[in-house]
């Protein structure tokens, strides 16, 4: 099967998260992923876009987010690009649920969710463009960068 790609650009506003989810749902279903995996793609893309809107663009709705789906024989990748402030994944600390509840804090779960749901989550920045790639393999042997039991 040849590689297929599909692109959607949304404004940097939470109003369009639903469009991003529908976009990935449509193509993950077409690529014949199971319902559970389709749901996982929707959540991961939502979390990635939410983080871009809130952190990279700091709530400014005048920017845009480019979402590209790349379907290969062995994998389904969603590439999400922005031109906001870049995210340093090495600075990320896993949230502690009990501590957050005590502090009445609501956030910090997005990266954790993406990593749990996808086989690969990769960040890179080139020039002023940030990119996160969310990948799921069709074959379970490739999962979690090959480090699963």
């Amino acid at each position: 099967m040849a590689r297929s790609t599909y692109t959607l650009t949304i404004p940097s506003s939470t109003r369009f998260l639903e469009d991003a989810r529908q976009f990935v749902e449509t193509h993950a279903q077409e690529a014949e992923f199971a319902d559970t995996a389709v749901e996982q793609f929707k959540i991961a893309v939502d979390e990635a876009c939410t983080n871009i809107i809130e952190h990279a663009y700091k709530g400014n709705e005048d920017h845009h987010i480019d979402i590209t789906i790349i379907i290969d024989t062995d994998r389904f990748t969603v590439r999400i690009r922005d031109e906001g402030e870049s995210f340093d994944p090495t600075s990320y600390k896993e949230p502690n649920l009990m501590e957050l509840a005590k502090k009445r804090r609501a956030g910090g779960f997005g990266v954790h969710i993406m990593r749990r749901l996808m086989d690969r989550v990769e960040y890179r920045t080139r020039g002023n463009v940030n990119e996160v790639r969310l990948t799921k393999f069709r074959n379970a042997e490739h999962r979690r960068n090959g480090d699963q039991a």
Partner: protein, 120 residues
């Protein structure tokens, strides 16, 4: 146009919030307003019925996180009932069953509140 809504019901002194649609960073403020309304009216026994909740992201989960301690400090609780499996999976992914009382039916949540009341 939001595809999320919160309905309010009362069962004696317990407030039941019926969630419908998709709860994400855009619609989370509506749930926040609903729980805040319960607090403003001094209702601290809250059941969230998720039977018609189709989707939740971490922004939605964050609303529960932001309110649970305060509600419990007032002697109440937020019990979460009737979640669809795909929605429960997201709660479970973040370890929410450790912190929240998540039950299968609204009746179970109601009876837990009643039992706690009788014991108290």
């Amino acid at each position: 146009m939001s595809n999320f809504s919160v309905g309010f019901r009362s069962s004696n002194s317990i407030k039941v919030l019926d969630l419908q649609g998709e709860l994400d960073a855009h619609t989370a403020s509506e749930l926040e307003a609903a729980i805040q309304k319960c607090q403003d009216e001094q209702h601290y026994h809250i059941i969230v019925n998720g039977r018609n909740l189709q989707y939740i992201s971490s922004a939605g989960l964050g609303v529960f996180m932001a309110y649970i301690e305060e509600v419990r400090e007032q002697g109440g609780d937020i019990k979460i009932a009737a979640l669809q499996p795909k929605v429960f999976n997201v709660f479970d992914l973040l370890g929410f069953p450790m912190l929240f009382d998540i039950v299968e039916t609204e009746e179970e949540a109601l009876s837990k509140f009643h039992d706690a009341h009788e014991e108290g």
